[in-house]
Subunit: 138 residues, 3 copies
């Protein structure tokens, strides 16, 4: 069994954004040399997500509006977590979108459907954050 | 290390439905011959889910009503994604229910609690769609 | 390839609670002797979650209030599932928080970001329930 990991870094200038990281993850898979196995990709921060969906800007706008409706940022004092911080909503949004994805590796490639793309979802940005890629297989 | 995959196909006549796919996944596990490992089962489409919960029709009705409340289909023009399509709500519902499950394989069986069953959740049906089963172990 | 599993037991005296199980999972990893691989930790019950977030009591209060707003327990007769039971809301809350986490194992440790902690989320307690830890690797 082979194993591989890499920590990727992303810094988003806004509080919230979605970044397509599929190519970065594919580069990890190539580096690993693993042909058959499982790939884990997860946010290493608890106010961010890694998820799989469509690379379509209209949809990303819809996610932003929808998440803000389900777990609004303001008023920040509505959350007990917001004593010294103002990011409680980011911890909630991340649960809806998820922490991680697990992707099959088949014949050296991400075994994806036609429209599957991997995104980093930032909900409390303006600082450098880490995403982990771990691959096991052979 | 052994690895195995199969793409399963489901075509739902309605826009939305929940299908119990546990037996199909168990058949894959038997075919694989893997006794100890991890099994990934994921929707290959971004308007569908694979999740684990109860095979109880009342609960499935509750999920349908609840998801429609959290992310309503109509009016379709409320979503930026719905230029040429009308399925933005399906992309949102799928995030709540999740893309994938990872299941332990122990002594050749899905290592499940008493009531755990695997479901395919369709949110934009009326066409053939794929679910991936990938198993690694030995 | 090595594989390991253990079923952990938790009994929560209240209907709902969040329990930090990170140390229990770390103990499993030590017992397994696995240095590189993937660790799956999942609720074996369908009214409970395993998730990763912050060990901060204010945030846990926020999760409780937020989940109760997204999927209220009462009135119980609003749910079709609640014929003989009163836990439909628990099945819904568990979908928001998730069934499972997959964690990278690197150099014999959970490969975590600074604040990542594993929680058992109970939404229908007052009885003994099981959490599965499965690890594969070498």
């Amino acid at each position: 069994m082979k194993s591989y990991f890499k920590e990727l870094h992303y810094e988003v200038p806004a509080r919230r954004a979605f970044i397509n990281i599929t190519h970065d993850v594919e580069r990890c898979l190539q580096e690993s040399g693993i042909k058959e196995g499982l790939l884990l990709c997860n946010a290493m921060h608890i106010t961010a997500s890694v998820f799989i969906n469509d690379d379509e800007s209209g949809l990303h706008h819809d996610y932003e509006v929808w998440l803000e409706r389900l777990a609004p940022h303001a008023p920040t004092h509505q959350y007990a977590h917001n004593g010294y911080e103002d990011n409680a909503d980011a911890h909630l949004k991340r649960q809806v979108m998820g922490r991680e994805v697990v992707v099959a590796v088949t014949e050296g490639k991400l075994h994806f459907g036609t429209w599957e793309q991997i995104f980093y979802g930032e909900f409390d940005g303006k600082r450098k954050k880490r995403v982990l890629v771990k691959i096991i297989g052979e």
